[in-house]
Amino acid sequence: MDGQLPAVALFRLGHLFVSDTVVTTWGLMLFLFLLCRGHNRGFHTERTAWEITREGLVLAIQEAIDAVLPEAGKRVLPFVGTLWIYLAAANLTGILPGLHSPTADLSTTTGLALLVFLSVHWYGIQIHGLRRYLRHYVEPNPILLPFQIVSELSRTVALAVRLFGNMFSLEMAALLVIIVAGFLAPIPILFLHIIEALVQAYIFGMLALVYIAGGIQSLGTKALAKEG
């Protein structure tokens, strides 16, 4: 929260400018990688508290996914689970002094929304096949196709803008409170930041899960049953 919310290009990587958002994301990736890396211990060995926490986190994510999409929970777990974990970490990064959340950058949220948009079709096509998947856009009536397309695009845009808007405004509000009220006043705002960060991560991931489940379940579960 250094008062410079817009992303700043730090250096150039070929034709790409590497901004502080990307660098922060790399740091987050390294942090998450170090946290999640661990040995796959056997059944009889005693587990550490972190291993138990890690297992609990993964199982909680899988349980939440299975509640919405029991047919393909394991398949979408890496994508949706990573969304939740990454967004929670990224949203909370804004609390740290000198850093701002990567999700307060529209480029990041747009990229994630695009990934969600693509993943919906990716999983749908993967499970139902291209023709069968595309057919659901024109069923029960082809006249609904434009509305379907608008719906897809609008919800993707909404997904990107919602997360960006919430996190950007949250950091902006915190910045303004610090500027206006001084040192101790931002503490409640920080609590609000934590809650908001976690809620927004949950909402983004849950919406992504719901969109993916909608794409998979729009044709019923017969195809899934055939796939076994």
Binding site: P6, A7, A9, H15, L16, F17, V18, S19, T21, V22, T25, W26, M29, L32, F33, C36, R37, G38, H39, N40, R41, G42, F43, H44, R54, E55, V58, L59, Q62, K74, L77, P78, F79, G81, T82, I85, Y86, P102, D105, L106, S107, T108, T110, G111, L112, L114, L115, F164, F168
Partner: protein, 250 residues
């Protein structure tokens, strides 16, 4: 609020890399460990179920075996009781028989002992009676008593059956020795004549008669005719009584 395409594409790549990293280093290991743990738990549950079933089967077998043992025990117990009963009856019968024999033997011994005691008592009584009688006879022995006894003897001799009288006569004749008449007191002449008359009547007129005295006879006569002796005195009577008492009064 601006969209930076470099950041946009780099964030997409970053996220995809992160998906791969977490899938590789978080989800797969954790899910594999959970699956392994779940499989191990299920295996343990299955093993426990199997062991429980085996234990139940063993319990059933042991229950059946215990039931069989119980029945066998009851059968053996019943048989043992029967054998004990039979053996007890046999032993009781043998004991009763033995007791009966012992009782019979004791009864016989007791009877014998009583008989012997009676015999001894009778002998003692007889001896006492004889002694008493002997002392009594010794005190009452007198010439008068001897006279009376002599009269009784002579009376008896006169009343002897003919056969006995013939036997006395034959004995006197074959012996050739004189007839000896022994008395405790001196016999008067009258009595001596009466005795001689009777003896001559029995043995014949040719017979010689000797008279002698023996105080041991207490009172009465002892007449020796050949091999025959006529006991008509108190001593011989006492001896006779004593002998009768010694032979049980027979």
């Amino acid at each position: 609020m601006q969209l930076d395409w470099s950041t946009f594409w780099l964030e997409i790549i970053n996220f995809l890399i992160l998906v791969w990293l977490l899938k590789r280093f978080l989800y797969k290991p954790v899910l594999a460990a959970v699956a392994q743990r779940r499989a191990a738990i299920e295996k343990q549950l299955a093993d426990a179920q199997t062991r429980q079933e085996e234990a139940k089967a063993l319990e059933g077998q042991y229950r059946n075996r215990l039931g069989e043992w119980e029945k066998e025990k009851e059968t053996l117990y019943t048989r043992l009781n029967e054998e004990i009963e039979v053996r007890r009856e046999k032993m009781t019968a043998a004991l009763e028989e033995s007791l009966s024999q012992e009782r019979e033997k004791a009864h016989v011994l007791e009877e014998r002992r009583l008989k012997e005691l009676q015999e001894k008592a009778r002998e003692a009584g007889g001896r006492a009676g004889v002694e008493f009688t002997a002392r009594l006879f010794a005190r009452i022995a007198s010439p008068e008593l001897e006279s009376k006894l002599t009269a009784v003897i002579l009376e008896d001799l006169r009343k002897l059956p003919e056969a006995q009288m013939a036997a006395l006569r034959a004995g006197s004749a074959s012996n050739g020795r004189p007839i000896r008449v022994t008395s405790a007191f001196p016999i008067s002449d009258v009595q001596r004549d009466a005795v001689s008359a009777v003896l001559k009547q029995i043995s014949g007129n040719g017979a010689t008669i000797e008279f002698c005295e023996d105080r041991g006879l207490l009172a009465g006569l002892r007449i020796s005719i050949g091999p025959w002796i006529v006991h008509g005195n108190l001593k011989d009577e006492l001896g006779f009584f004593s002998e009768m008492a010694g032979h049980g009064g027979e």
